[in-house]
């Protein structure tokens, strides 16, 4: 039920007054309803639940999150090199 996976909008059209789209989930495509994301555009990513696109995924935010993970990795290496120190560092 919470099964929502990210898909890329590759086509948008109208069907009896409702905006519909084709979403590409990495090689598998599905028709989804865009009624709840009226300004969704082709090329953007969305999360779909029960046939409806509900979320627009923010690429900038996603990259920031991934960058933060990478920085944690550098922090790991630093701390591994300074074994014995117990103080907490702020990222």
């Amino acid at each position: 039920m919470c099964l929502g996976i990210p898909g890329k909008v590759i086509d948008i059209w109208e069907e009896s007054g409702t905006r519909m789209a084709t979403a590409d989930f990495g090689g598998t495509t599905k028709t989804v309803c865009l009624a709840y994301l009226p300004d969704m555009e082709i090329g953007e990513y969305t999360i779909v639940h029960a046939g409806f696109a509900l979320t627009r995924l923010d690429e900038v935010s996603a990259n920031e999150t991934l960058q933060m993970f990478a920085e944690l990795g550098f922090l790991d290496e630093e701390l591994a090199g300074t074994e014995g120190q117990s103080s907490r560092e702020t990222a």
Binding site: L3, F25, G26, G27, T28, T29, T31, V48
Partner: protein, 356 residues
Amino acid sequence: MSEAGQVDPANWVCPLPLRETKRIVMGHGGGGILSEELIENLFLPAFGSSGGPSRDSAVLNVLGGRIALTTDSYVVNPLFFPGGNIGDLAVNGTINDLACSGAQPLALTAGFIIEEGLEMDVLGTIAQSMGLAAAAAGVAIVTGDTKVVGKGSADSLFINTAGIGVVPEGLRIGPEQARPGDHIIVSGNIGEHGVAIMSVREGIDFGTTMTTDSAPLHRLVAAMLNAVDDPNVIHALRDPTRGGLVAATVEIARTSGVGIELDEAKVPIPESVASACGFLGLDPLQVANEGKLVAFVDPAHSEAVLAAMRARPEGSAAVIIGRAVEAHPGMVVARTAFGTTRVVERELGEQLPRIC
């Protein structure tokens, strides 16, 4: 037209040619003239038989060794799917059952249960596919049977194929032969057949370029056996059809009394299988394959076997995905990409009904 008084049977044209009957009727299963015409005009030309008297069973010369015998019924729905149909599935599937015993396939039978009303064109196309698949595999369909049942008594068409093959003297491949330490090899990408079928099942409705991987594997197996001096270093073979990779490995684990460790990161899953399974809520490890095999091989010889597999088109993506162990006999444990473990259990029942 011949001269008056002279009649040349070769020029006779059947006053009721088969082509006029667009659909199968109950009479085609009656064992009489209609049945004979169906076999002579639809099945035999498709299977490339040279004629000769029909028999109840085919007798074949066998040189030494033991006989492998197998049968399978095909009830796949729908009859046609991306990359194939019930016919070539029925040919390749039974050949693969023989191949996984290490047998050289000799011949196939084909039995048909046809629903009254099925279009002749449909049956003809399927029969043609079977003939082509058999020819491509170099295995003949030598005998068969046809029955027609009333409308509603069968869903369009059911096919049974039985296969017979020769197992070389001294070869002992079997699900009870796996031993701790064996490398587990899969011959290529998994999940393709199941996803191809799901994409044309009614009510599901998604787009994919995935086609079935249905293919005969006896030449692959022959190459594997030839790659090593002692073919018995290949302990077990299985084609992961219904129930997928999980069912195949669990069954071998239980029969042999070994445990199995799978490395999830190594299992080759194409992106479109992963994404289709993602939103259908399916596990790719449980999805059916029709052109793949799993092999349990003595670790000292797995590289040689792997090389032989990769040299063939149907094994080009072969890879070692795990090993048999002494611990947790009968259980399959997968190691995730994070280094954590989970027990892999077979699906309960019809995750994907009528998949083959």
